[in-house]
């Protein structure tokens, strides 16, 4: 039996277990526990920890740390992640790996202190200048958060690509039982700077950018093929299929679980990878499905755009896509159901 652990603490400990060499960050609600925990835990475990002057500084510390081949983590929230984007783009340009935990707070600008899913598009579209994608993984439980953080370092290294753990304030703050994986000892990666000029790294100023683009496209295709992750229930005969991730993903699973006990044919795809979007999940969906419905803790719905895009790609182009959005915090099942009833009654216009 595991013990009750806060999501933020669990993710920090998972990073230690995964062999993280360095953490750099700047505190911000609702992600601060990650940094507070690291401030003593990293030292105890013999790792580096730096409280940076800003989110920007923290990300450039991560950039430097990755250049010498270390496993490196940063975490922030909302506008803090926005500040990091310049460095994220630099790291992608250099093909450097890192793991970045984004504990989403609701809203733009300063946002609120409350939980939300309003940063979906930023994380899944790259976030900074240039043509790149971060691998984005989103847990629904504390245990899954631990497992995904642990996995993220390996994926990041394998593809030399940033992995974002996109979670919500609510998951960072909630407690649930979880078991930690074993400690891994990972040496510094051997492709990195060692001071001996063993691995000359091409300068962006002089490299063949077209060649690089082709290489990156091939990598993107490989990630898209290999790294789609999701949990699906009841989609084979569903009249409506929910798409959701994070806490709303759990809520959608609960709604479907309940509905199917009553004999109502609902299905759910709980996305775990947000980029690559789990488009393969469509392959199992009932061809006569009447509608797709995203459940999102956001103003306007963001994931619904991906659902519509991939529905079209997968031959569901005529199926209407709806979104059920909810205010900051954790959506109440009863409110989601009320909105879903309105969708079924034809009172709500589809988004796409």
């Amino acid at each position: 039996m595991g013990d009750m652990v806060k999501g933020n603490i669990a993710m920090a400990e998972a990073a230690i277990r995964a062999g993280m060499h360095m953490y750099a960050g700047y505190p911000i609600t609702p992600s601060s526990e990650i940094m507070e925990y690291m401030s003593w835990r990293a030292q105890e475990a013999g790792r580096q920890y730096i409280q940076a002057e800003s989110e920007l500084g923290a990300m450039y510390m991560v950039y430097g740390a990755a250049s010498v081949g270390s496993r490196v983590l940063t975490a922030s929230s909302g506008l803090g992640i926005s500040l990091k984007q310049e460095g994220v783009s630099y790291m992608q340009a250099a093909d450097y790996p890192c793991v970045m935990i984004s504990v989403c707070r609701y809203g733009d600008g300063l946002g609120s202190l409350q939980s939300g899913q309003t940063d979906y598009l930023r994380e899944t579209r790259g976030g900074g200048n240039g043509d790149y994608r971060n691998i984005v993984l989103s847990p629904s439980s504390v245990q899954e958060a631990v497992d995904l953080v642990y996995l993220a370092f390996d994926l990041s290294e394998k593809y030399r690509n940033i992995v974002v753990i996109l979670t919500e304030g609510a998951l960072g703050q909630m407690m649930e039982d979880c078991e930690y994986p074993d400690y891994k000892e990972v040496p510094f990666y051997d492709w990195a700077f060692d001071g001996k000029h063993t691995n000359p790294q091409p300068s962006q100023m002089t490299m063949d950018l077209y060649e690089r683009a082709q290489r990156r496209n091939a990598l993107r295709a490989e990630i898209t093929e290999n790294e789609q992750r999701w949990e699906a229930v009841g989609v084979e005969d569903a009249e409506y299929v929910f798409f959701a991730y994070g806490i709303p993903g759990r809520i959608a699973l609960g709604i479907v679980d309940d509905a199917r006990k009553r004999g109502e044919k609902l299905g759910v795809v709980r996305a775990i990878s947000l980029w690559p979007f789990p488009q393969k999940a469509f392959d199992a969906i009932n061809k006569d499905v009447k509608g797709f419905v995203t459940i999102e803790t956001a103003d306007d719905g963001q994931m619904v755009e991906d659902v519509a895009l991939f529905a079209k790609k997968k031959g569901f182009g005529d199926v209407p896509c709806y979104t059920i959005t909810s205010p900051p915090g954790v959506p109440k099942t009863v409110d989601v159901l009320k909105k879903f009833e309105a969708i079924k009654a034809g009172e709500v216009k589809e988004v796409f």
């Binding site: 909630m174 407690m175 609960g254």
Partner: protein, 179 residues
């Protein structure tokens, strides 16, 4: 069977800890549990609260929906949460503190425990939340007294706080016996 309990009171009364103990007792008894605090701007309004769910099976929503029971340690908490208590649910209050008119819904059960008086008798003012938890566990009927005490002591022991084991056990028992 999924159960939902809200713990609410002033910051410092130990309501978040009481919720955590209950969730840890659930794990100790082989169930699943979630603990969700209300945090951010709302928590600066005077009340702290958390929602605990436990179940034999998978817990879907960890959020506040319709609690089966509420522990309210101040009047603002009582007034706020009595509205969302499930019909037939239990509102457990410290009757020394929640002195307002509690007869506001006839479809729920309001139980008062003079917890402040009890902890003064025990000379253990910080044990208020545990006295209340003892009463709550008995009213919920999902865990035996000993099971809950063992789960609680296990949690504090893992945190290296065994020093308070005897006092905690005593407070829990007094609460358990009070209802």
């Amino acid at each position: 069977m999924l159960k939902e309990v809200v713990f609410a009171g002033f910051g410092g009364q130990g309501v978040l800890t009481a919720g955590l103990i209950l969730s840890q007792v659930a794990l100790f008894s082989g169930k699943k549990a979630t603990w969700m605090p209300e945090y951010g701007a709302a928590m600066r309004g005077g009340t702290a609260n958390c929602t605990v769910k436990y179940s034999d099976g998978r817990i879907f929503s960890p959020g506040q929906e319709a609690p089966d029971a509420i522990m309210a340690l101040n009047i603002p908490s009582f007034n706020r949460f009595i509205k969302i208590l499930k019909p037939g649910g239990i509102m457990l209050i410290d009757s020394d503190i929640v002195t307002c008119d509690t007869n506001v819904r006839d479809d729920v059960k309001v139980v008062g425990v003079p917890a402040t008086t009890i902890v003064n008798e025990l000379n253990n003012p910080r044990g208020l939340n545990i006295v209340m938890l003892g009463a709550l566990v008995k009213l919920m009927g999902d865990y035996s007294e000993q099971e809950a005490i063992d789960g609680m002591n296990d949690m504090f022991s893992k945190k290296g706080k065994n020093a308070f084991e005897a006092a905690n056990t005593e407070a829990f028992k007094r609460g358990y016996a009070s209802v």
